[in-house]
């Protein structure tokens, strides 16, 4: 190369033959990797800003307090969907959190290692089941021959939420120091009392974080509800889970499929409400994630 006029010693000092090319390659890779990271952040911002810009104009008090306007009329809100989503997510969480935490207690405290690993694996696989398949499972089980209902929707959401809650609870319980167990045993406590009186209180913060993450995840799930709670007999506020309940994700879905710009505006506003809820919950959970873990480790 152009280093021909330099002595061998001088070449070595500059990094050996081809050093310039190697540094250039290194530089290119570094720039590309940095670019990729900022691209990902840019996409996030692009989506969030789109939702903000398009959703804000349609957002007013009516949007939260009124039901959808009848076909062909303007205005109206998504009060029915907000109430429906709240009930569905609450029911799903009430089902999945106790079961999820009990699974975690079983795998972390009681089960033999092999069984525990098997259950963990099963939870990961359950987490990988496409949510639309969970939806048609509930459809085949509870809706065919009956009718759509809030219960069916809530159970479908609970199946999606269960592995998330259980896996995060397992991670948290595994962090509780063995010495706390041993202290309990030394005091003559039975295992279940150790779990209830020592392990769970210690892990409480982490368990709540996991439950919040689960809520954030299922609040935006559409696919499990599509076959369970998507066709509504009345568009008013429904508080009876025996009937199909309007909800925010399915509302966004149906509005987004409509050709009318008015419907799109409503869809964006609903999307803004949903994304704000989900992102705020996620950020809160993530912020407390590390803190709660540090506290458990003591």
């Amino acid at each position: 190369m152009e280093a021909g006029s330099l002595s061998v010693a001088q070449q070595r000092l500059r990094g050996g033959p081809g050093a310039r090319r190697r540094r250039a390659v290194n530089r290119v890779v570094e720039v590309l990797c940095t670019f990729a990271a900022f691209l990902a952040v840019a996409v996030l911002l692009l989506v969030v800003i789109s939702v903000l810009i398009k959703g804000l104009p349609a957002l007013n008090l009516d949007f939260f307090t009124k039901n959808p306007a009848p076909f062909g009329m303007t205005g109206g809100g998504i009060a029915n969907s907000i109430v429906g989503s709240a009930i569905l997510v609450l029911l799903a969480t009430a089902m999945s959190v106790p079961v999820g935490i009990m699974v975690a207690i079983y795998t972390s405290e009681f089960a033999p290692t092999k069984v525990s690993e098997g259950i963990r694996f099963a939870l990961d696989i359950l987490n990988g089941v496409p949510t639309i398949v969970t939806g048609v499972f509930i459809f085949g089980l509870l809706v065919v021959g009956h009718q759509q209902s809030g219960w069916a929707g809530a159970i479908a959401l609970a199946i999606v939420e269960l592995p998330i809650v259980a896996r995060s609870a397992q991670e948290v319980l595994d962090l509780v120091p063995r010495s706390l167990h041993e202290a309990g045993l030394a005091l003559g406590l039975r295992r279940w009392r150790i779990v209830l009186r020592i392990v769970l209180p210690t892990a409480l913060g982490g368990l709540i974080t996991g439950a919040v993450l689960g809520v954030a995840r299922v609040a935006g799930e559409t696919a499990p509800l599509l076959f369970a709670s998507s066709i509504f007999s009345n568009l008013g506020i429904t508080t009876n889970p025996a009937q199909a309940m309007p909800n925010i994700p399915v509302t966004i879905f149906t509005l987004s499929e409509s050709p009318s710009p008015q419907d799109h505006a409503q869809a964006w506003a609903a999307a803004l409400v949903l994304i704000a809820f989900v992102l705020i919950l996620s950020v809160i959970a993530r912020t407390f994630h590390e803190r709660s873990r540090r506290r458990i480790r003591g």
Binding site: I132, G140, R190, R191, A223
Partner: protein, 324 residues
Amino acid sequence: MSSSASAAVTRPKLFEVRPKLVDRIGEPLFRGLAGLAGVVAVGLIIWIAVTVFNDASPAISKFGLSFLTTQTWDPVHNVYGALAFIYGTAVSSLIAMLIAAPTSVAIAIYLTELAPRFVRRPVAILVELLAAIPSVILGLWGIIVLGPFLNDHLEPFLNSFLGWIPLFAAPYSPYGMLNAALILTIMALPIITSITREVFATTPGELKEGAYALGSTRWEMIRMTVLPVARPGMVGAVILGLGRALGEAIAVTQVIGNATQIKASLFQPAGTLAAQIASSYQSANPGLGVSSLMYLAAILLVISLLANIGARLIVRRFTVVGTR
């Protein structure tokens, strides 16, 4: 509570032999409930699989395996086949992986090796928040923002350079394979990135220092130590991202155009297994129509179970050792 008082007097409390009544009931009850919850978790997967296959059985016995090679989906004449959707699922996910895998690895390299310390956590959290965006919102964005952009700018641009490849042939369309693939890329990206990042973090420091001591540049160090150590984990991460992409129903059905056709051009409307199920939620004919949807769900379930089991086995084997 009612444990015999005489025993307590004669023996020191420390060596209490007879457990209290609450404990005698509570301990096995609690253990039993916890074990039951474990059974529920494992049983759910089996239950889902059995129900889906059972409900699909009319279609399975009617069409058999030729379902997989038939391209028609005709509710009017009750003839159903999955070929177009299998093709659509494979192609959209494949393109998503071709874009997401290298990008995710690059992001993971940036986050573990390049970024200044104060940037790492915020950027990592932002990338993970990408996974928190509900798919229906990503789909809405795909319909109204990304679609028109593809139709007016990206597709003509690609066509002008690569139009001689059938993949990029006109006419343009806002909704189709390309839009779906890009949305799936956005969904898979955070998953692949976060696992890859964890795997990268397991590279032994001695290896890195050794590479630097031999005069490597940063990239040479990464190429010779980080990447080889992380290779199996990266494969697992990509398969997990693939599993996510294969199974996504809502966002895809919003942007892919839902057409039962196989077209070479990525600009054309298509369909996927999951999207087809989602798009016919209101219109499925009772009987064979619903059963055929269940058949689609069964195929989807098998594919995603295989992907997930494979990926978990790989990821587990290669991360547990390093992180603990």
